[in-house]
Symmetry: C2
Subunit: 222 residues, 2 copies
């Protein structure tokens, strides 16, 4: 009964690359753990965690479930590994676009661009994130990871607003508001097309508020 068994419930992703991984380059003669996770991403994006079936993955990969149960202990192991990888990728993503503070306005623009406009391109990623968030409502481990990611992203936003010169008292407010606004727009607009104008409007208003030019919304009856 030999079983490598990935980390499972553990936190770190634990790149399971001790596999020889063959010399066969493009042909998929041998599957790796990440291959299964990639396939799982497609299923999760399409149907959520509830519709994540190992038989479906096997068909998609052109193998039988015998392969799956060598790479993973069981279905739960797949789910937890998937969540771990998701969290890790969100963090390297955050690290990749950490604000350098040289051109805050441009950085804000790029951030909103990534979160809002690019979301319509990165459909897969958006759908996975929404699925994870939904799953987190009934899975404690997922809830923990989502909370970690949320907190890190709000921290990132706070950094940005500090660089923009916002007073410290409102940094937290602005960062939180912008974060829930971006998440909300992804939730509301997911699956809609022709939303680029709405997105642009949101970006416009958020930018205006963030840059402190937001005093002209009233008609003048002060």
């Amino acid at each position: 009964m030999p079983r490598p068994l990935g980390t499972g419930l553990t936190m770190a992703s634990s790149k399971n690359s001790p596999r020889t991984n063959r010399n066969v380059a493009p042909g998929k003669s041998q599957l790796t753990r990440d291959d299964w996770l990639d396939a799982a991403a497609g299923e999760v994006a399409a149907g959520g965690f509830g519709n994540l079936r190992v038989l479906t993955l096997a068909k998609k990969l052109g193998v039988t479930r015998g392969s799956f149960y060598w790479h993973f202990r069981d279905h739960e192991d797949l789910v937890n590994s998937f969540l771990d990888r998701w969290r890790d990728r969100r963090f390297v993503e955050l690290d990749y676009m950490r604000p350098k503070g040289e051109n805050p306005e441009e950085e804000l623009h790029q951030l909103l661009q990534l979160l809002l406009t690019d979301a319509s391109r990165n459909v897969r990623r958006l759908q996975v994130e929404l699925a994870v968030r939904d799953f987190a409502r009934r899975n404690d481990y997922a809830a923990r990871l989502v909370e970690e990611v949320d907190e890190a992203r709000v921290e990132q936003n706070k950094l940005l607003f500090r660089n923009l010169g916002s007073v410290e008292d409102q940094v937290e407010e602005l960062a939180t508001l912008m974060y829930v606004a971006t998440i909300g727009s992804q939730v509301v607009l997911s699956g809609r097309q022709g939303n680029t104008d709405i997105i642009r409007r949101i970006e416009h208003l958020v930018a205006r508020v963030a840059l402190g030019q937001g005093g002209s919304t009233n008609s003048g009856k002060e």
Copy 2:
């Protein structure tokens, strides 16, 4: 093969009250269609539509599945009826708190209160809404209803901001931003406790922006 069969896929809720509904008042000797839908609400709130099992509902109601298949054609009929009822309730809810325009500031406060603060009390309703939104990502009918509700709510917000004296150009922006912000905060904060301060901060900032006093976020380097 007698079968009343509720509307199923049709849009209107079509109160199926041609039932005599017995004289037995508190005892649940006879079940109605709404009883099943109420039980379904609990399951949907807890596990989403994917975990909505008719056997579970039957146990919860103290009957067997034989009752279910009299009241509903099949599982899909239950889901569609549930969605119909959900949409209808969202609309009467909107109608109930339609802004009268007499005291816009107070109305804004009450709206935010309902959407944000009260959400932590109304857990069941919040969870159902999130489940419906998630289900809408892979169910066309649910997607249609959610879109209808979203649009109606944004319209409501626009009405409010017009009453607040915002210039028409920014009414749409403000209404949309506030809507996605509220949805996003529900998504992000669902299942967290001790979020009342965060919610209050968001409310504060949204109110400030909406009332046009938002020009003081910058530190002064214009």
